[in-house]
């Protein structure tokens, strides 16, 4: 086939099948998640480096904070279960059920963000801020990055859910958003 024929007719027939057998949207999401995982890895290792190399590291967390963190983690892991339900319902074509699970996931994400902010404000009350030293800088940077991901995820779930229920997006979009949410949960 000549180049001019390919330009007119397209060259889909000449290309080999995708080695991954997944839509390009899903592959793109995977590549984004891998790069995001490495970004979080770099932040966490930087935190570890500073933590190990600093004597008298600040330990501001009381038992209330530990309980708060346990609740936040349980909430986020549970939200992975609800997003699994959303993806499965979307694949089955049940829009009402999909939205029910999507709203549950959003509610859990919002609850996580609220508890997260409560923890932050308690630290602010004790004089620990982004500019108060190495602990504040590393802690607020890493947890802030994660909180940004959670808030972005809630917004993405809302937008994708609404557009899916209006028929503008497909179950594949719900699945890609679900992948993002699972990643946020794992981090």
């Amino acid at each position: 086939m000549s180049e001019s024929e390919m330009a007119v007719q397209g060259h889909g027939d000449l290309m080999e099948a995708s080695p991954y057998a997944i839509p390009s949207r899903k592959l793109t999401m995977w590549l984004f998640l891998i790069s995001d995982a490495v970004t979080f890895g770099a932040f966490l290792f930087a935190y570890g480096y500073i933590r190990v190399s600093t004597e008298n590291w600040v330990r501001p967390f009381e038992s209330g904070s530990v309980i708060n963190v346990i609740a936040m983690t349980v909430i986020l892991i549970t939200s992975s279960l609800t997003v699994l339900g959303a993806v499965d319902a979307a694949k089955a074509g049940d829009k009402a059920k999909t939205m029910k699970f999507m709203y549950s996931t959003m509610a859990l994400g919002a609850l996580f963000a609220a508890l997260h902010l409560r923890e932050w404000f308690q630290l602010f009350g004790r004089g620990i801020t982004l500019s108060s030293g190495l602990f504040g800088q590393t802690f607020f940077t890493i947890t802030g990055l994660h909180l940004l991901h959670v808030i972005s995820g809630v917004i993405a779930l809302l937008v994708v859910g609404m557009k899916y229920s209006n028929g503008k997006l497909t179950p594949g979009h719900v699945e890609s958003t679900g992948l993002y949410w699972h990643f946020v949960d794992l981090v």
Partner: protein, 103 residues
């Protein structure tokens, strides 16, 4: 099978993974209050985090159901990059003992 039943089944299917993830998390919290040496604790917590991440990737994110090509393309390179980031631990300990430039 109706769509509603299918959605219920997927939650039931992944409940064991959910509970294992919770157990790993509670073990991590418990261990962090035990009096281990810092290095030992870091290694144990990193291994547990690796278990959690593997479970999430393989089952919640369905990587186990995808073609193996995807896993082989994404995961080894990620692990390699993350492992390379471990090179500086010895330097952080050196800094702790205030021996800048020490061999």
């Amino acid at each position: 099978m109706s769509a509603a039943n299918a959605s219920g089944n997927v939650i039931r299917k992944y409940l064991p993974v959910y509970f294992v993830l919770l157990v790993i998390f509670f073990v991590e919290v418990f261990l962090s209050f035990q009096h281990f040496a810092t290095g030992t604790l870091v290694v144990i917590l990193l291994l547990l985090a690796l278990c959690s991440a593997s479970l999430g990737l393989m089952y919640f994110m369905h990587l186990a159901d995808e073609k193996r090509n995807l896993l082989l393309t994404l995961i080894p390179v990620t692990i390699f990059v993350l492992l390379m980031m471990n090179m500086f631990w010895s330097d952080s300990v050196r800094l702790l003992h205030m021996r800048p430039g020490a061999q």
